[in-house]
């Protein structure tokens, strides 16, 4: 499997506090990689280095190298805006814009000038909503507020919004942690479906979820990458004692 994202010797600091230590990792194309580990272990921080979302934190500092399609995303001449369009993100808490359902999806298409006409825009919105399995539920109320949707629907709206700008990588930061089991199941089915087209990195606290949706799993602890393996192996015969302790619930 071809590697989409290649991370080598990544260190990350919030001011003087080091949050990631010497992380090296390959994320394969069109696969789902899950990131697990106890709270505060750096997995969300790690995810946010991949689309440079940590740039918004003034005291944050990155060392090491992250290549996406062979290009160093922390090189001085990197266009961060273009990078973020290529590497979409879905957040832990759904964060729809205070606009209509339609406008929430259309926003990313508009700012990136991807549509050729109004009809094309509508078609793109429809496709994004279909891809995120939300179309049937909202097609009759596209002009109503996004805040009128349920929590699970809002999260799928945010996924649709991310897909609408046609990214290549989708980062998901605990996308189902605030959702009920049914909504969670929908998101998980969606993730499995999406990997046909996208490379997906998903942070989760739910180990069953990692086992269900991912091809590979990476285990973080205290800012260090402890183990990466195919999910099957990770959950049946982990190599590292720490991983085994964590997934069998002995700590964390």
């Amino acid at each position: 499997m071809k590697s989409k994202i290649s991370i080598s010797h990544l260190d990350f600091y919030y001011g003087k506090n080091q949050a990631l230590y010497d992380v090296s990792l390959e994320i394969p194309e069109r696969e789902v990689m899950a990131f697990i580990g106890p709270s505060g272990c750096g997995k969300s921080t790690f995810l946010r280095t991949l689309n440079r979302m940590n740039d918004t934190i003034p005291i944050a500092r990155v060392e090491g190298e992250i290549l996406i399609d062979g290009k160093d995303i922390y090189a001085p001449k990197t266009d961060v805006v273009a990078l973020r369009r290529k590497v979409g993100m879905v957040f832990q808490k759904s964060n729809p814009f205070p606009k209509s359902i339609f406008e929430n999806i259309a926003y990313g298409i508009r700012i990136n000038r991807m549509h050729s006409s109004k009809t094309d825009l509508e078609a793109r919105v429809e496709k994004a909503l279909k891809d995120s399995a939300l179309w049937e539920e909202v097609k009759d109320r596209l002009s109503t507020s996004a805040f009128g949707l349920s929590g699970g629907q809002q999260q799928r709206l945010c996924i649709a919004r991310a897909l609408a700008v046609e990214p290549e990588v989708v980062l998901m930061d605990e996308p189902a942690s605030a959702l009920d089991p049914l909504a969670t199941q929908k998101i998980e089915e969606l993730v499995v479906e999406l990997k046909k087209k996208y490379t997906i990195a998903i942070v989760t606290h739910n180990m069953q979820q990692a086992a269900r949706v991912s091809d590979k799993t990476a285990f973080f602890m205290l800012g260090k990458l402890i183990e990466v393996n195919p999910t099957q192996i990770m959950f049946t015969s982990p190599e590292d004692k720490l991983t085994e302790d964590y997934i069998t619930g002995r700590f964390g």
């Binding site: 689309n51 979302m53 918004t56 003034p58 805006v81 273009a82 990078l83 973020r84 369009r85 290529k86 979409g88 993100m89 957040f91 808490k93 964060n95 729809p96 814009f97 205070p98 606009k99 209509s100 926003y107 990313g108 700012i111 990136n112 507020s145 996004a146 805040f147 945010c158 919004r161 991310a162 700008v165």
Partner: protein
């Protein structure tokens, strides 16, 4: 034992709720008393002539038509100058102002809010009136704008800061450049709050008298041009109220009622246009 603790807690809770309700009632009742008093004293003198005519010598009637127009014109120009600058400064302070420059601006704005408005009047007198060699509506409007800017800047900043970080990140993650995040996402989300701040500032300057005494002065005529001295409701009220005759005092009350009514009207209008749609 448990029963008595429970009862005690209920009692304290009821008392405290009652106390805060009493405070709220006290606060609102004073406002209502003022409004009621103005309405009672002023209403009798309001008629069409009063609203449209210019001031006349005592005993010959006359009205405040030119003062209403003057106040409107000066508030309008002051808002056109003050709102964009104030809101722009607020955007800077909230989105990019966490540095020494932002801190300095914030400190100076807070100081300027506390400066007595008559000082702004004197300042504009030396800066605009003396070079122009006469008082003018323009000078009045600039003085009002200067009072307005720090208020608008600080309230806009507070409102913009209330927009959740997650919403900004959502837009950034779609590949939106910073300015589009601010313009398309943050500003609309904060619009109601910014409009409320703008309203407060407009209400505040509509009630200012001191900065206009030196700058716009007053006029007995209808005047639609900013290069001439201009009448305003507040200065007109001041003139009426300091006059020796009861008829003038009556007109001062009526003009006050008109002023309060106009401010209330602008308030309702803005609330209507900025009501939450999504």
């Amino acid at each position: 034992m448990n029963e008595s603790i429970h009862n005690r807690r209920k009692l304290i809770s009821t008392m405290m709720t009652g106390l805060t309700a009493a405070c709220a009632f006290f606060a609102i009742s004073i406002l209502l008393m003022i409004l009621g008093y103005i309405a009672v004293r002023g209403f009798g003198a309001i008629n069409w002539e009063f609203l449209t005519d210019t001031p006349k010598p005592v005993g010959e009637g006359g009205g405040i038509g030119n003062a209403i127009v003057g106040s409107g014109l000066m508030t309008l120009l002051a808002s056109l100058i003050g709102l964009p600058i104030g809101i722009g400064a607020g955007v800077y302070l909230a989105e990019f102002g966490d540095n020494w420059f932002g801190n300095t601006v914030r400190f100076l704005a807070d100081t300027l809010i506390g400066v007595p408005s008559i000082i702004v009047g004197i300042f504009i007198y030396t800066l605009v009136v003396l070079p122009m060699t006469r008082q003018s509506g323009l000078a009045g409007a600039i003085a009002l704008a200067i009072i307005m800017i720090p208020i608008v800047a600080r309230t806009s900043e507070e409102m913009i800061r209330l927009v959740p970080k997650s919403m900004r990140e959502g837009a950034l993650a779609l590949g939106a450049p910073q300015w589009r995040v601010t313009w398309n996402i943050v500003m609309p989300a904060a619009a109601t709050g910014i409009a409320t701040g703008a309203m407060l500032a407009i209400a505040r300057i509509s009630g200012e008298t001191a900065p206009l005494l030196f700058t716009a002065l007053n006029s007995r005529f209808y005047n639609y041009f900013y290069d001439q001295p201009m009448s305003s409701l507040t200065v007109q009220i001041y003139n009426f109220a300091t006059g020796p005759f009861e008829v003038e005092h009556q007109m001062a009350w009526a003009a006050t009622l008109v002023l309060v009514g106009l401010i209330l009207f602008i308030n309702i209008l803005v609330r209507f246009f900025t009501r939450k749609r999504f």
